[in-house]
Symmetry: C3
């Protein structure tokens, strides 16, 4: 298992980590690359990376429909971040072929920060066929 | 890795692809079937297929709470589709036993179209134990 | 494949099943533990377990933005549960190292009940490297 470190800069944002992940699969002919976020106020999202506006729109809508104020019972003030983490999930995977991630043409892998800025970790495991 | 082709007919809909996936696992005694959607405005959903009204309700609610108009920054007009794709995710898996998908009694596998109609692909990898 | 049985007590709640899952990975030096919910009105969520208020907040917000009344076409009355199941997904995984789940410090594994109370099942498969 490898660990990627991600530095986030805003309270909520999507940080493109595709290149860091891609380096871990070079040399693997065929297999699956598993990604896991061990945090409860962050997650992993795979979506368009060509136009950075898409990532901003995704974060904007999440911030819109998960209310900042709601009579939350958890007193640390970051319940919206926990909810967003539950919606997008902690784990994802991408197939690997010929040393490359089999992402779609427009797909990039993002670390989804919902309670930053912080220094975060992503666990990565590459399992060859 | 196998590739399934899916033809969608509406802007947003869930298309049942269970039979196409099931054919790829016949002959596998025990293992895991991984499904991956390489598109950024579509995804994969596993839910009830017995009553088609469930799939319609799921799409209706997604279309209700991801706003069509929102001051999106991405100018292609399909930001709601990107958001839905982030919520339901690109990848999922089902266990395989005795050549059959170990789905629950009411579960079916759906291709979730959020920006159709289009011709789409699903990557499938079956890993025996 | 192992099967965990979960008894839920409310219509919607998160039930911590981490200890039941942990027992199935003891003895595994390194690998991946896959969890799968075969129900269409329930799911699996990994999030904070230290303060039980977080799980309550997550359920409260899901119940808030997936409307109870909406002109649903499915006549069993549990369409909101199907929608929530689609949002949080049926499957997840956790890495295993030295016989222990590699969860983050605050992470616990929850069975997400959206149409209870019921007796439910979770399929578990542990694949060593």
């Amino acid at each position: 298992m490898e660990v990627i470190t991600v530095r986030t800069n805003r309270q909520t944002e999507l940080v493109d980590i595709t290149d860091q992940v891609a380096r871990l699969v070079s040399g693997v002919k065929s297999g699956i690359c598993y990604l896991y976020c061990p945090h409860t106020t962050a997650g992993l999202v795979i979506n368009e990376g060509a136009d950075p506006a898409v990532a901003e729109d995704v974060i904007s809508v999440l911030n819109h429909f998960v209310p900042w104020k709601f009579g939350y019972k958890h007193l640390e003030g970051n319940s919206p971040a926990h909810v967003k983490a539950c919606l997008t999930g902690p784990g994802t995977f991408v197939f690997v072929e010929d040393g490359r991630l089999k992402l779609g043409t427009w797909q990039r892998i993002f670390f989804a920060e919902y309670d930053g800025p912080r220094t975060r970790k992503v666990y990565v495991k590459v399992v060859p066929d």
